[in-house]
């Protein structure tokens, strides 16, 4: 039965967190009310559009996007658009500069410059329905590979495409497969690394939630190329929805004969299972991940031998990231030449980034390599909210670094970002504005890596501890002359002496912030001030007597009763009681709370 119109409602973790499921119930109710069940179909998609504007929905075939939906908006929306065919401008995307509503999806700058390869099906299909995936050329690449190509052909095709590992390392995927295939050990294993531990990254989660079959098909292609019969997908336990959708997709694929013995009636056998992580960041490192699947503590080991030589249960193991694998069906379908035509000389194709932080349009972005950071932040991202000033963008999570405004014209590819001191990483991109203290952010990352260090190498375990202590002191105004130099020296030592990627990159956030924002460190140490007014020990809250109207809202909300004054008269803060929790600043509607 054909429907007159489709309503694509995003039900990713983020949209669910702001009530997407309530919207669905309300939609169903309202559609029923107008007897539109036979005309309008609700499709629950995954991780689709502007994540920060959720819940969002798209009405097709008109391609009209609605954002920030609330339950009370739904009756009007259903009546106006779905019944009478008149789009509702008040619920549309508002351009932050022009302040006019934009109706069509393609016209929103956020989507305009994106090019979808790994996210081919995002927001278009229902991730729980394998038929919808198949209708979008799903499993066509697998059929092509099994019928017309030898494993060597597949490897050559991927080598020609120039695809590099999207997990952060950037190692050429085709070469890795070749090493694994040529290794005489047997059986071989394929592992998909979906242990997305970087704080501030949600690409892998989104890909799995939006389009789990792309990953499964990608794994089948990879397994065929390397000659593996068994695969594991290592997913973080913090992603319950992703695990649920992936589980459902695997079961469906087995039913359709796409997994198991004799895939597509050929003599190729492959099956996979999900392995749930247990909350250890170091599992993103491939040897730790292998130890974790083996039931050992996730401590890394010395490489070589690399996992392609001796991996899981001592057998050759190929580990790829979710995004790498999800690109494969498109590369096979459209050819290596097409893929190699996108991107820069050394970095081909597209890369998915999760843009978040102090930015208007936070969300999942897939762009061709070589786009500049400035385009990313100001064009796609729509700039910084509340007219604040841009300060830096942090890439690559705790292993990466900060990139200041002066380097915004840097094209994004593996080599160029590395030259700036940061790393591409898995694609987390956090934008920071003038209110963010770079010392505090560096301290935050060191606190994270210090907690997550497995403790095997003393340089990482003890060194990060020492760095954390120094940074905490600086943030408290107890920094000493020479601290900066010592941090630099310590950072270098940790990088040189640690074994795995975690230790080798953990000091990066500190080293890059010293490199680009040394004046902020100096202000903390010498003048005992925090220029961003963020470090609690170095700031004081007060009330602007002229702006305060005495509305009393801060007084009521203050958890320590530190705000004194009569109603309708300007209030004052008792500094001996103030714990600087910032509640007053958050509730004040007149911008009367001053921080200095």
């Amino acid at each position: 039965m054909a429907y007159r119109c489709n309503v694509l409602l995003c039900t990713c973790t983020m949209c669910v967190s702001v009530g997407a499921l309530k919207i669905r119930n309300k939609l169903e109710e309202e559609i029923k009310k107008y007897n539109l069940e036979d005309e309008v179909q609700i499709i629950l998609t995954g991780s689709s559009w502007l994540c920060t504007k959720g819940p969002t929905l798209i009405v097709q075939p008109d391609d009209v996007v609605y954002q920030f939906l609330k339950e009370k908006d739904i009756p009007n929306l259903v009546e106006e658009h779905l019944l009478k065919g008149r789009p509702v401008p008040s619920l549309m995307y508002i351009d932050p500069e022009e302040l006019n509503p934009i109706e069509k999806l393609q016209d929103i700058p956020f989507y305009h410059d994106q090019r979808l390869i790994a996210l081919w099906n995002r927001g278009i299909i229902d991730p729980d329905e394998i038929d919808e995936y198949i209708a979008r050329d799903g499993y066509k690449a697998l059929a092509k590979v099994l019928q017309d190509m030898t494993p060597e052909d597949v490897i050559q095709e991927i080598k020609d495409s120039g695809l590099r590992g999207r997990g952060g390392g950037g190692f050429p995927t085709g070469m890795k497969w070749e090493f694994c295939r040529k290794n005489p050990g047997s059986p071989k294993y394929l592992i998909c690394n979906a242990d997305e531990g970087d704080p501030g990254a949600f690409m892998d989660r989104s890909i799995i939630e939006a389009d789990p079959h792309s990953l499964i098909e990608g794994m089948l292609v990879a397994a065929y190329a390397i000659g593996a019969e068994k695969g594991y997908i290592y997913v973080r336990s913090e992603y319950p929805l992703a695990i649920k959708r992936l589980d459902g997709a695997i079961i469906k694929a087995r039913e359709y004969g796409l997994l198991g013995k004799g895939v597509f009636g050929s003599d190729f056998n492959f099956d996979m299972e999900i392995f749930r992580g247990a909350g250890a960041f170091v599992c993103g490192e491939e040897t730790s991940l292998i130890h974790s699947i083996e039931g050992e503590p996730a401590e890394p080991r010395q490489r070589p031998p690399f996992p392609v030589e001796r991996g899981l249960w001592e057998n050759p193991t190929n580990i790829n990231n979710v995004e790498t694998l999800s690109c494969l069906p498109r590369i096979i379908n459209f050819g290596a030449k097409w893929f190699a035509g996108i991107g820069t000389e050394k970095s081909k194709g597209t890369k998915v980034f999760s843009l978040a932080g102090k930015i208007n349009n936070a969300g999942l972005v897939e762009v061709p390599m070589g786009i500049t950071l400035r385009e990313m932040v100001f064009k796609i991202g729509g700039g910084i909210p509340n007219r604040k000033k841009f300060k830096a963008v942090q890439t690559g999570g705790p292993s990466g670094g900060v990139i200041p405004e002066s380097m915004l014209d840097l094209p994004i590819d593996y080599e160029r970002i590395q030259e700036a001191g940061a790393i591409m990483g898995s694609g987390g991109m956090i934008v920071m504005d003038e209110d963010d203290c770079m010392v505090d952010v560096a301290r935050y990352f060191i606190e994270f890596t210090r907690d997550e260090s497995c403790g095997k190498c003393s340089s990482c375990r003890e060194g990060l501890d020492a760095m954390y202590e120094i940074l905490t002191n600086i943030c408290k105004g107890k920094g000493k002359e020479g601290d900066i130099e010592f941090l630099e020296e310590l950072g270098e030592a940790i990088i040189n002496a640690s074994m795995c990627g975690l230790g080798k990159s953990a000091p990066n956030p500190v080293l890059t912030s010293i490199r680009h924002f040394k004046d902020e460190y100096i202000a903390h140490i010498r003048d005992k001030i925090c220029p961003a007014k963020s470090c609690v020990e170095l700031i004081e809250y007060s009330i602007d007597q002229e702006k305060c109207t005495g509305c009393f809202i801060c007084n009521v909300n203050c958890p320590t009763n530190a705000i004194i004054g009569e109603k309708k008269k300007p209030q004052t803060i008792d500094k001996s009681k103030c714990i600087k929790c910032s509640v007053c600043k958050e509730v004040c509607r007149f911008d009367a709370i001053k921080v200095e």
Binding site: T13, M14, S17, V18, L50, C51, T52, G54, E196, G197, D198, P199, G200, A201, F202, R205, S206, S237, E238, Y239, P240, F275, R276, G277, A278, G279, A280, F281, S292, I293, E294, G295, E296, P297, A298, W313, S354, A356, G357, K358, A362, G363, Q394, G397, G428, I430, M432, V441, Y444, F445, F448, C454, S458, E462, N557, P559, C581, S582, V583, E586
Partner: protein, 296 residues
Amino acid sequence: MSNKKVGSVLVLGAGIAGIQSSLDLANSGFKVYLLEQTPAIGGVMAQLDKTFPTNDCAMCIVSPKLVDCGRHPNIEIITNAELGKVMGEAGNFKVEVRKNPRYVDEDKCTGCAACTQNCPVSIALYPVEKISIILRKDDTIKVDAILEEYKDKPGNLMPILQSISKEYNYLPEDVLKYISQELDISLTKIYQIATFYNAFSLQPKGKYTINVCFGTACYIKGGNRILEAFERELGVTMGNTTEDLMFGLETISCFGCCGQAPVVTVNEDIYGHFRVTQVPKLIKKYREVESAENNA
């Protein structure tokens, strides 16, 4: 008394206390004989991971001292030996030491340890007591079902612990001992896994686990302020549970919900764009749910 250092000192037991005393004495100029019953110096501390109360690494403290002790010209180590008779009086003792045979020519041995690895008989210095544990009947059924599912799979410890954790909301000590006994995996190994991964807890968790996201986006948008607000409201610090076992307060490194930062979750419910001022309301909401359940 004259200040001239005379004579020599015998230190009994080469644990950390004995080693430190020997080093101090030797550095003051005394000749020290360090007597140890086991074949090696180091004692219990060399077998520990961390030390109380600072959680410092035990080997990091003790190993430099072992080396100093072994190389000190004033210290003579006598291992594998016992004290026999002590004669004389303060200032002038005579001691008889019984040195047990090593059956190894100490002058020729390089300490390559090849012999220990190839020895067919292994004797633990500190034998582990064999545990025998019987769970309550309903617990036995639950745990046996989990063990049955994963029994023959390689690398099964993680999935087993995850299932146990899901069932009980934490890892009860008795159950861990039971697993150790049934699967013949040492309890040490199980504890190693259970304490390595953040997802496991050895303490009972609250009925509602409040997780404050500490991802980068949430942090710069005030995640730490929200955590502080919860700490104030609940009267517990991060990582702990309220006394009535209602709320557990934890942080998580990232939910991948950065678009809605800052984010808080309570069990399965996710709250995006969370504000400090919502904290009391949220707690109140769950307390009301709870009391409604109790009344029903």
